[in-house]
Subunit: 346 residues, 2 copies
């Protein structure tokens, strides 16, 4: 969101205070002016709008898309989140995500300052104010600001934040390379609530990137496949059976759920296939006919190369592409579901 | 840090958008004005100053003590922190904390935008600007703002934030009640780096509070005592041996380290005592002669009541108080160490 003024990159060693004076802003107006100057050089604002219950409204100025430093989500990770997509002016499956969002909040012992219908209304109005037609909505519930302690007892109220992210996406037709993660998995209590304690996920992805892959797969101590940090993973066995890890110890993906509903329809397409949400050993996963990432509804990532060896034929999996096509169009597809129309004002 | 305008507490169910209009701020100035109005009713500002490398300076206005919503510390927990104390115009053991801070950062794969001496200089100047004479300094290194992805690859620079917290503290002479935590412990990689993924710690403390205690103790699967979320715990056995859990799987407390250096001096006080940093079973801990929390240097919490049964005599432990006194004064005490004098301008 910007660069520090004091230094860009590594600062020189400072031996005594005389060498180095930190600027003290005389007022918030001086600071705002500086931030506006910085933002004026940015070609396209990445987030067209943000809502904050602490501000009590929607802000369109990127300089103020901020959260109090004493919010317990910032310094303790006491916050949960979820994401919806907006496409062609519709917010899809918002309530599926809000349901999971409030479930995550309850596991993290955060009570929402708003009812589900108010949350829905805020998100829809935020999207309208943003004018964004294609992108993602990310929203958080936090224990709120108040102090720097562990317990939220000193926080007067929990907080709700939401951001609209302009983002282009389309049907994904290329494979991805993955590795087995060396970063320890989270205990089930924390893996099943979508909270902001994602350092294990971050380190997993960084480990993959360092090795030229795009993601890494978590495998539990017994060698069962769990998940990729922030996506579910599915396999199509040689018997044309779609298999995913059960959701006991990992996040219940909304798209994975939808996929399980959708997959039997493959039969109508001449592909015999059934879903089984059962555990799968690494050895089975690696020899599976096809494999796919199950992330956002419309960004199934077909075919993957896992720890060097490509799955199946090495080409983009036929059944995977069939499922992806089922998601993208026709009766019962993801886009066929009832979305919330966003009341944009032109 | 404030209450939302839209609602205080639970909002009513909203059946359709017509019932409920979210305010859209016309400008940042309008928002700032509102925030100033809110802050004007607050009797005493809790944080006299904040530094942000994103702002490139020190801000004294609480309305702007904020962090960008897209900072990866906020939404991914990709940040580390540490804390120092300021007392009588001195910052104590700042470099001990900065050493650990940079070690935590390296474990979280965050490279500091500043050298250690620049970090030190910023913290000292911040404290001077705050005019705070007694309180704590909390500081963070974050992967920085940039986007809402997992990987920090899209973040132009890491970020450094620091806040001065006005806070009174004195030698603690009363016991605390603790319970055994039911919240799962963190894997060693995450427990040994002081990062903001503290949801397990938060839930542990909330569990304790629900049961009328002030803290809970983490015990590992084999029944060995680990730590209290954000403090080390020590025991003095019937043989007058000071015992702490080893630091392999828990955070290496700066005060615990100091305590281990200090404890042999008890001998000079007529108390035979030696330190051993070894593992201790719950059963041993519960029958220990005395027990103490090892938090900030000057807030050792003597005597605790664990899962109902009081340790030792039930009174404040004699040896614990002796150690606490050693910390508070005299040669070799905590206050005898070289602090960084803060160059306040009156």
């Amino acid at each position: 969101m910007g660069n520090p003024t004091v230094s860009s990159g590594k600062a020189p060693e400072v031996e005594n205070d005389d060498d180095f004076r930190v600027h003290v802003f005389s007022s918030s107006s001086e600071l705002l002016e500086k931030l506006h100057e910085k933002w004026s050089s940015v070609e396209k604002q990445p987030y067209p709008a943000m809502y904050s219950s602490i501000f009590g409204g929607i802000i369109l100025d990127p300089a103020m898309m901020v959260i109090p430093i004493d919010d317990h989500m910032v310094h303790r990770g006491h916050g949960v989140f979820d994401t919806s997509i907006v496409l062609d002016g519709y917010l899809y499956e918002l309530d599926v995500h809000l349901d999971r969002f409030l479930l995550s909040a309850s596991k993290a012992k955060i009570s929402s300052p708003f009812s589900q219908s108010t949350l829905r209304s805020i998100i829809i109005q935020l999207t309208a104010a943003s004018k964004c037609k294609k992108g993602t909505l990310r929203f958080w519930l936090s224990a709120g600001p108040g102090d720097f302690l562990l317990s939220p007892a000193g926080c007067p109220t929990s907080a709700f934040y939401a951001v609209v992210i302009d983002h282009d996406f389309s049907q994904c037709k290329e494979g991805v390379k993955v590795i087995t993660s060396n970063v320890p998995m989270k205990p089930p209590l924390f893996a099943t609530a979508k909270n902001v304690n994602y350092l294990p996920n971050v380190l997993s992805v960084m480990e993959a990137e360092e090795k030229g892959a795009s993601s890494s797969i978590w495998v539990d101590e017994e060698g069962y496949i769990a998940e990729v940090p922030n996506v579910n993973v599915a396999f199509i066995t040689q018997d044309k059976e779609l298999v995913m890890a059960p959701f006991d110890n990992i996040l219940r993906g909304c798209t994975a759920k939808r996929l399980l509903e959708l997959a039997p329809r493959g039969e109508g397409q001449g592909v015999e296939m059934r879903c089984a949400s059962k555990i799968l050993m690494v050895v089975e996963g690696k020899v599976a006919g096809e494999s796919l990432f199950v992330r956002r509804p419309l960004t199934l990532l077909p075919r993957m190369v896992w720890d060097v060896q490509p799955n199946g034929s090495g080409g983009v999996g036929e059944i995977t592409m069939l499922i992806s096509n089922l998601m993208w169009g026709g009766k019962g597809s993801f886009l066929d579901t009832q979305g919330n129309r966003v009341p944009y004002v032109e």
